[in-house]
């Protein structure tokens, strides 16, 4: 049996080695997108909205990915689109997990009527078709970035709430929590010293999943023409590509392929991080993503 800090270090090393390559790939991908976000102004030669060239231009030295139907630079849109996706992902992840943790945590802690009401609400929200509802809501309430984050978060908190509640209930049944209860520990003590220990690691995959779902939802919404008109967005690029039937010409190579690859890459990157983390929590049951679209 391993002893002391040495043993713990070895356990940690063993774990990281096992889930290594996937986790590293995930961090590298997400890190690369973060760099693109930070260096966006330097990387992008044009703004997302300016008419930088003649329409429907194929790629050349000035326009690396050509231009769209009104002559905007596609490469610049691709670079600046990362900001929209990551902002949506981060904003929704933080907001929806905060709400979800609060609702799920309170329901799991207090139980009884509060729990019943909270979980029935969760069921109701989960029964709504997300994308059609978002479309209608965005059509009425506008399509700004903040509005999108608020709307998507308003629908995305429910599943995390249910999972957090389940985790709190499971943790409450564990021996060390029961033992602390027997000592006379109050709710606050249990929450800060015992329950948080079991529930907190779960929040990482939840945050990751929420970000993944949000990025895909924003893309779908923008693809339906409901993206923020002031910002570059991969979904909006594909919206115009679809409306202008870019797939019927060679333009699909530089107009359709890149934004889709960008969306898939960032989502895969996040997915790998979540996968590695879950593999650590429960080696047998990794994988799976609660999605919302």
């Amino acid at each position: 049996m391993s002893r002391g800090a040495d043993g713990r270090l070895r356990t940690a090393l063993r774990t990281s080695r096992r889930s290594g390559p996937a986790a590293i790939a995930g961090v590298v991908i997400v890190g690369a997108f973060l760099l693109v976000v930070l260096a966006g102004d330097w990387l992008a030669p044009f703004t997302a909205t300016e008419r930088a060239g003649i329409p429907y231009q194929p790629p050349d030295a000035v326009h690396l990915l050509g231009t769209d139907d009104v002559g905007r630079d596609l490469y610049s849109q691709l670079v600046l689109g990362a900001r929209t996706s990551l902002a949506i992902g981060a904003g929704v992840a933080l907001l929806s997990i905060a709400i979800g943790t609060l609702v799920g945590g309170i329901a799991g802690l207090l139980r009884g009527a509060v729990d019943t009401i909270a979980m029935r609400t969760v069921d109701v929200v989960l029964s709504l078709p997300f994308l059609p509802l978002l479309v209608v809501a965005a059509a009425f309430l506008g399509r700004g970035l903040t509005t999108q984050i608020l709307l998507i978060s308003a629908l995305s908190w429910a599943r995390p709430a249910r999972l957090v509640r389940a985790a709190v209930l499971a943790a409450s049944g564990r021996g060390h929590v029961q033992a602390a209860t027997t000592l006379g520990a109050g709710t606050w003590w249990l929450l800060t010293r015992h329950l948080s220990f079991s529930v907190a690691p779960l929040l990482v995959p939840l945050v990751v999943r929420a970000a993944m779902g949000a990025i895909l939802l924003e893309a779908s919404l923008s693809f339906l023409g409901l993206g923020d008109p002031q910002r570059a967005s991969w979904g909006t690029m594909l919206y115009w590509a679809n409306v202008r039937a870019a797939v019927l010409t060679d333009a699909w190579l530089w107009w359709v392929l890149p934004p889709g690859i960008a969306i898939a890459s960032i989502v895969v990157g996040l997915g790998l991080i979540g996968l590695a983390w879950e593999e650590r929590l429960n080696p047998a049951l990794a994988g799976g993503r609660g999605r919302a679209a």
Partner: protein, 610 residues
């Protein structure tokens, strides 16, 4: 020879090391015979079972031989195993879990065996299956029921029917009754042994509980750290064990008619067994050469033993059972405290649970008991008799429906949360599961200090040290820094005990504190509990084992279906039980095994009383 294991070795490959779980086992079994394989956690018995079933995990490597009727099966193809598994070798799993598939009817699961191994058509099998249920004592009509509609003992009967329906030559039963009620345990073991005998099948009973399986076995094999250390006919091995470990294991099962011994030290870590004889660090008869030289299993009279005490040329009359520390005898009745104001007073206590549909269940019906300074009270009863509810009432976690509990003169149910926390300092609690009750990421120091912090006291190192010492643990800085995963089962339970003691309680409640520990170390925990009484602490020991209680407690109280059916001085209750429930508990304790002379282990037997 039906089954032969020759120098069998099984090694698991882990990411950073290798663990040899079975280290050179030789065993054989004749058709129709029953062999008991006994050992504690980590001795390799589960690996042995998996090897015989051909179901080792992918990271296991085997060497040696495993022959069934002369055919070597070790490393045989899945195709070969497909004709052996289930058909020639049947399996009965642990009693606590369900070996049955929850989504199929039990009749269909028995029929599956008949189709797979007896060449029955599906309709023939369906007709035949209910008959197999009757053979294991269940009504035939229940073939159409699903597993969740049966109790644990009944499910185990179904599994036995399912296994026997294939008419195997060999049945392997891995802890078949662990987790079942004691009375049910006896029934299941009798059923299994009886059916195996009737069908002419050989049976391997694998268990940690030597007294429970011994009466059903022709031969016994005792395993320690991946090796068979002794092998012999049951009568001989139980009456005159040759290996000190076998003798210690026998003495470590509490019995009414003799002292209760422990084997000192922890059970070995399978990943790093000691050099030389694996048992030498715990052996009271250790010789010089035991440190370096691993003894081989060699024949001695009608058995085999792996121990240097039995080396050729040595005096063979050594009494291997001597030398293990035993629980000190209880003080004579006249020396016991018991007068004065009781620390815990339970008065006409009733608890009623309301189930759905206005159905009411009485968990406790008018219980009155008292617990005084320096005294140990044993609270006995089968599972579901109300023991745990009573504990919860004393802890203030369960409000009574009627009557009253007072601790130190205060009623926990009537106190404010703050006053209740103050009262909790006076009550220590030790639960049964030492593997789950400790926060997995906390150090020993933080774990033991938690009760102080919860009641709002300043955690100080000195008090933690004192508590560890009283619980029989060191307080070196290395030990204080360990986390539960770095402790043995016995150490964890002692940490739980130190947690109970750190607030310097007047009362310690212990809820089956030894039930999940290895047999060989149980008496050690009991000794520590008993020693608390000498410091004036009152101990309430909850257990289902009346022999254990008899070794620790001054007085016994027996609960049955929520009522107090027997209550009195321990020696009186044992000698002259009045309640049926008490007699049942007494009947469930292992009595004479073979022809063991009752007093050969120690001059002090419990029945002597003084």
């Amino acid at each position: 020879m039906l089954l032969e294991l020759g120098d069998l070795e099984v090694t698991y490959r882990l990411p950073d090391r290798e663990v040899q779980a079975v280290r050179g086992v030789d065993l054989d079994l004749l058709a129709g015979r029953t062999l008991g394989v006994v050992g504690e956690s980590g001795c390799g018995k589960s690996t042995l079972v998996r090897t015989v079933l051909g179901l080792l995990p992918a990271n296991a490597r085997t060497e040696g031989s495993l022959r069934l009727d002369g055919q070597d099966l070790l490393g045989a193809s899945e195709q070969v195993w497909g004709r052996v598994r289930g058909r020639r070798i049947g399996f009965v799993p642990q009693g606590a879990m369900s070996g049955l598939n929850p989504v199929h009817r039990v009749g269909a699961q028995i029929a599956e065996t008949l189709v797979l191994h007896r060449g029955r058509s599906r309709s023939e099998a369906r007709t035949e299956a209910p008959g197999w249920l009757e053979r294991v004592g269940l009504p035939a009509r229940r073939a159409r029921d699903f597993p969740h509609e049966f109790s644990g003992g009944m499910r185990q009967r179904v599994v036995i029917a399912m296994t026997l329906a294939a008419r195997p030559d060999l049945i392997v039963a891995d802890e078949p009754t662990t987790g079942l009620d004691q009375v049910v345990q006896t029934q299941i073991l009798d059923l299994l042994a009886g059916l195996a005998r009737d069908s002419g099948a050989a049976l391997i009973l694998v268990s940690h509980d030597l007294p429970a399986i011994a009466p059903r076995c022709d031969d016994l094999a005792v395993m320690y750290a991946g090796e068979v250390v002794e092998r012999g006919p049951t009568g001989q091995l139980v009456a005159a064990p040759r290996h000190p470990y076998s003798a210690g294991l026998l003495a470590a099962s509490p019995r009414l008619d003799r002292a209760w011994a422990q084997i000192p030290g922890p059970t070995p870590d399978p990943a790093a067994p000691p050099r030389g004889c694996a048992f030498h660090p715990r052996c009271p008869h250790v010789l010089e050469r035991c440190h370096l030289d691993a003894p081989e299993l060699r024949p001695v009279d009608d058995g085999q033993v792996a121990c240097h005490l039995w080396d050729p040329g040595r005096d063979r009359t050594a009494d291997t059972g001597q030398g293990f520390p035993v629980l000190p005898p209880l003080p004579a009745a006249s020396d016991r405290p018991g007068a004065g104001v009781p620390l815990v007073q339970v008065d006409e206590l009733s608890v009623t649970f309301r189930m759905r549909r206005r159905h009411e269940v009485a968990a406790l019906r008018g219980i009155s008991v008292a617990l005084h300074r320096g005294e140990a009270l044993g609270l006995l009863g089968r599972s579901g008799s109300g023991k745990s509810t009573l504990l919860r009432c004393v802890l203030g976690l369960q409000p009574p429906s009627g009557g009253q509990v007072t601790v130190d003169g205060q009623d926990p149910a009537a106190l404010s949360p703050k006053a209740l926390r103050a009262l909790r300092r006076r009550i220590g609690f030790v639960g049964q599961d030492p593997f789950d009750t400790l926060h997995p990421a906390w150090s020993v120091e933080r774990l033991v200090a938690e009760p102080l912090r919860v009641v709002g006291a300043q955690p100080d190192t000195a008090r933690v040290g004192v508590a560890l010492d009283r619980a029989g643990l060191p307080s070196t800085s290395d030990f204080l820094a360990r986390i539960p995963a770095e402790l043995s089962g016995g150490q964890r339970q002692r940490v739980a005990l130190a947690r109970a003691l750190v607030t310097e309680p007047a009362v310690v409640l212990a809820d089956e504190p030894t039930s999940m520990l290895d047999v060989s170390i149980r008496a050690g925990i009991a000794t520590t509990l008993r020693s608390l009484c000498d410091d004036g602490v009152a101990v309430l020991l909850v257990t289902h084992d009346i022999a254990e209680a008899a070794h620790v407690c001054d007085r016994l109280a027996v609960l049955d279906d929520g009522a107090l059916v027997e209550h009195g001085p321990a020696d009186r209750v044992i000698a002259a039980p009045t309640a049926v429930a008490t007699r049942e508990l007494l009947a469930a304790t292992p009595a004479e095994l073979g022809s063991a002379p009752p007093d050969r282990l120690s001059p002090v037997s419990w029945a002597a009383g003084d």
